[in-house]
């Protein structure tokens, strides 16, 4: 759940001009709200929090005055889903055109709101000529979700800008778009590194094995986020046997990098996680100590 300190209600009733000035002096932690803490605004229900003066904020957003618009966004964004009533206005002003900085702030606000209805407007922004805006639109689509977001992110994986492609691939994993796994494999073959992690999040048994098979052609560093994801998925999605197989293949690498991954997984392994898998990880960590060239003891279990 996103947490932020509610601003004084009086602040929300300040004049627009004062708000605009205040926004420039607000502490960054407050302005960035939940996003500053690195947590996605995943909740869908409006949280308890400060009551927003929606009509006033709408008026500011429609003012076409950059300062006022920025001030309104600074209030709406940390409100997260509570600012949902502002989403249609935000979508409209985005569609009608904004300078780059305001577009980015508006998209971040829509991301914080996380309303699926915003995916259409954000999808339009993925056509923008400025790659910075396309990246931001792709990031926001991950938060707004829905079929339109999935479709737009799939398109973004073919974007001319590498960063847009990476955001899109990562996003498809986060959105659970299992139907996109074949496309993510294509992206992986085209050096879209984030596709590995996304595949790890979404793959079925055969696809997970397909990812393992990539070890002969794609560097371990790129693939390891995918293996990490597979190992931490619930047993209902990925069997222990498959996880042990993954551990075995990583162990076979016998490199410093493989040992680092295994140790990292070992350190994060849930107390209630599979004992069988844990045992395989423990043995693999020992077997890969010493880094590159170290011979693994025994085969994969």
């Amino acid at each position: 759940m996103a947490v932020f300190d509610p601003p004084d209600m009086n602040t929300l009733r300040l004049s627009r001009a004062l708000l605009a000035g205040l926004a420039l002096t607000l502490p960054v932690a407050w302005v960035d709200g939940s996003m500053a803490q690195g947590r996605p605004a995943t909740q869908r229900k409006a949280p308890k929090g400060p009551k927003l003066d929606v009509p006033a904020l709408e008026a500011q957003l429609k003012s076409r005055n950059a300062g006022e618009m920025r001030a309104a966004l600074a209030i709406a964004r940390p409100a997260g889903p509570a600012a949902a009533p502002l989403a249609p206005t935000l979508e409209r002003i985005l569609r009608d055109g904004l300078p780059s900085d305001l577009s980015i702030e508006a998209m971040q606000t829509l991301a914080a709101i996380g309303s699926e209805t915003s995916s259409g407007a954000l999808s339009t922004l993925t056509h923008h000529r400025d790659p910075k805006l396309r990246r931001e639109a792709a990031r926001a689509l991950i938060k707004t979700r829905g079929p339109e977001a999935v479709k737009a992110l799939r398109r973004c994986m073919s974007d001319g800008d590498g960063a847009v492609r990476e955001v899109a691939a990562s996003g498809l994993g986060q959105l659970g778009a299992k139907e996109m796994v074949p496309d993510l494999f294509v992206a992986l073959d085209h050096k879209v590194a984030e596709a590995a992690g996304a595949i790890g999040q979404l793959c079925d048994a055969a696809q997970c094995e397909q990812l393992l098979g990539k070890l002969t052609r794609i560097s371990f560093d790129i693939l390891s986020p995918g293996f990490d994801q597979i190992l931490f998925r619930p047993t209902s999605e990925v069997s222990d046997d498959l996880k042990i197989k993954v551990v075995g293949r990583v162990r076979e690498m016998g490199t410093v990098e493989s040992n680092r991954l295994l140790k990292d997984v070992q350190g994060r392994w849930p107390a209630k996680g599979s004992k069988k898998v844990k045992q395989a990880i423990d043995q693999a960590v020992i077997a890969t100590e010493g880094g590159a060239g170290a011979k693994p003891e025994g085969g994969a279990q």
Partner: protein, 589 residues
């Protein structure tokens, strides 16, 4: 004995006909005789045929000459110092170097004679009995003309104090072009100038081709029963169509000049043609003349100058020759390539077997059968020639792109699209390819196929189609059906601003109400960020289209954008101008 017999025969002709002396040789006070004297010589010679020359290629190498008979393939070598490029005439090769003048049998390389000489060869003619050689003296003033028999003895020596061209000899009469306008007929037996003709076209060569004499440089005048009309431009004359070609190649170099033994660019950029045999009107054989431009060999229709074919060779062409229904080129590595006149189909290859400093070729009565299996459509030939990577070929490639653009068939459109999307294509040529494509007015199917291949990183389509030129052509073809796909390109960030501008202009003619939403989106997305001139031009075209489609509502929309302080000043200015004038856009060209 044979030589004596010929001399006697000529003497007989002279005595019987009363060969007359027209005055002092090369007299510059001579008054044009209206063709009387040259006509008399022509009548005296009657059906005389100059003996056919050898079919041969001769190359200059480090230690002398290499040669090959084009008939038998027999190769020969001749070691000798050289100070100038040799001349092939009739059945002999004439060269100078190391203080001597020599003649070889062209077919075998056997030395016929050699004699001491201080000059450099600058022209030669041969009639099977006598060789006339024009030598430039070491002082570079004047020169000397020698008439030498097969035995190597000089029958006649004529000091030249005029700028003489390349001479020919027939029936013991030397034909000497001079001052670029006269041909003096000099009787080698008597030492008299027995005739002179004045030419209205620059003339510095006298050449025997297929048994007949020709005079010229810019075109050729045939020595026939109309030769008396030369001074009134009424002789049998043929020249090549005037058309601009890369490097401005010439048919014949100015005659009477010493050619360096090492090749130069003029040898690689040349025209070749052969006068057609017989016929009342002088024409060009096979209606073809040829050009070389380094690796490219081109055939043109002699009647109209249109490109008929183009072929590539692996090395720079440095010499060539034309023969009945064909032509041959000699390349820097000693390769000889033969081509069919009509189609350009290869008709064989030979090799001198050595890298050459220069090359000289002669074909007279010669033919080669083409490999009909290698006949290709012209469009195919052009597109292959355009793809070659050599930087020295850029000029001819530009020329070929224009030729491709001028081809009427839809296949030319397809080829231009292929070239525009070919990653191997030189970027230097891309503007010409795109311009050519925008000028097309057919090939809709190929254009729409190209537009279907949009930029798609995952599908490995990373070179977008040339949407700008295609859009331009589609607008000219009034293909409104293509408006939806063009709109997709307008909203595609991978479309370059140059292409965007042309796409927007095309849509100003092709777009309808169905495209309005997309057009509005385009302006909206860009109006607050655009500062690039081409992008603003694209927006202006789109704004005009919105005005056309929406009328008053569109005007209000544009005014609102123009009034918005968040719109960039450049866009506000552009929109303000449009709403003030309220002009509808002119249709895309």
């Amino acid at each position: 004995m044979k030589r004596l017999a010929v001399l006697l025969a000529i003497a007989s002709v002279s005595c019987a006909g009363g060969q007359t002396r027209i005055g002092k040789v090369f007299d510059t006070t001579w008054q044009d005789d209206g063709g009387r004297s040259i006509t008399t010589v022509r009548e005296r010679l009657g059906g005389y045929v100059v003996p056919r020359g050898a079919n041969v290629a001769v190359g200059v190498v480090g230690d002398g000459l290499v040669g090959i008979s084009l008939d038998s393939g027999q190769k020969w070598k001749f070691a000798h110092a050289l100070d100038a490029r040799p001349f092939i005439t009739g059945q002999v090769v004439v060269g100078t170097g190391g203080g001597s003048l020599f003649a070889l049998d062209a077919g075998t390389g056997r030395k016929l004679w050699e004699r001491a000489s201080g000059g450099q060869v600058r022209g030669a003619g041969d009639d099977g009995t006598t060789t006339v050689v024009s030598l430039a003296p070491s002082t570079n003033q004047g020169g000397v003309l020698l008439a030498i028999g097969r035995d190597g003895y000089v029958d006649r020596q004529l000091e030249l104090d005029i700028p003489a061209g390349r001479p020919a000899v027939a029936a013991n009469l030397a034909f000497i072009p001079w001052q670029n306008q006269y041909v003096t007929v000099y009787d080698l037996a008597s030492g008299d100038e027995v005739a002179r003709a004045t030419f209205r076209h620059q003339t510095s060569h006298a050449i025997a081709i297929d048994g007949t004499l020709y005079f010229g440089e810019i075109g050729l005048t045939r020595f026939d029963d109309k030769i008396g009309g030369a001074s009134k431009d009424q002789a049998s004359f043929v020249d090549l169509p005037s058309r601009e070609l890369p490097g401005s190649p010439r048919w014949l170099r100015p005659g009477g000049q010493v050619l360096a033994k090492t090749t130069d660019a003029t040898d690689s950029i040349r025209l070749y043609a052969r006068p057609a045999k017989g016929g009342d009107k002088l024409t060009i054989d096979s209606d073809r003349y040829y050009a070389t431009y380094y690796h490219a060999v081109l055939g043109f229709r002699a009647s109209a100058g249109e490109l008929a074919w183009v072929r590539l060779i692996g090395e720079d062409a440095i010499a060539g020759t034309s023969y009945a229904q064909g032509m041959a080129v000699c390349d820097r590595k000693g390769g000889l390539h033969f081509f069919d006149a009509a189609s350009g189909a290869p008709a064989g290859q030979m090799s001198l077997g050595a890298e050459l400093q220069s090359c000289t070729m002669q074909t007279d009565a010669f033919s080669k059968k083409p490999d009909v299996a290698q006949v290709q459509p012209l469009v195919q030939q052009i597109s292959e020639a355009i793809r070659t990577k050599e930087t020295e070929m850029v000029m001819i490639q530009r020329f070929l792109i224009r030729e491709l653009t001028g081809q009427p068939g839809e296949i030319a459109t397809r080829k231009l699209i292929e070239l525009a999307t070919d990653p191997r294509m030189s970027s230097v040529l891309m503007p010409e390819v795109r311009e050519g494509l925008s000028a097309r007015r057919n090939g809709l199917e190929y254009m729409t196929q190209a537009l279907a291949k949009r930029y798609d990183y995952l599908a490995d389509v990373v070179t977008p189609p040339p949407v700008g030129p295609i859009a331009f052509a589609l607008a000219a073809m009034d293909e409104k059906r293509t408006a939806p796909v063009l709109l997709e390109y307008l909203l595609d960030p991978q479309t370059t601003t140059d292409d965007l501008k042309h796409t927007a202009l095309a849509l100003s003619k092709l777009a309808g109400a169905e495209q309005l939403e997309g057009l509005v989106t385009f302006v909206a997305l860009n109006r607050c960020v655009a500062d690039d001139d081409e992008l603003i031009q694209a927006m202006a075209a789109v704004a005009r289209t919105i005005l056309r489609i929406e009328g008053g509502k569109g005007s209000a929309r544009l005014q609102a954008w123009a009034a918005d302080s968040l719109t960039t000043s450049a866009v506000r200015e552009m929109l303000g101008g449009l709403t003030r004038t309220g002009t509808n856009p002119p249709p895309a060209k």
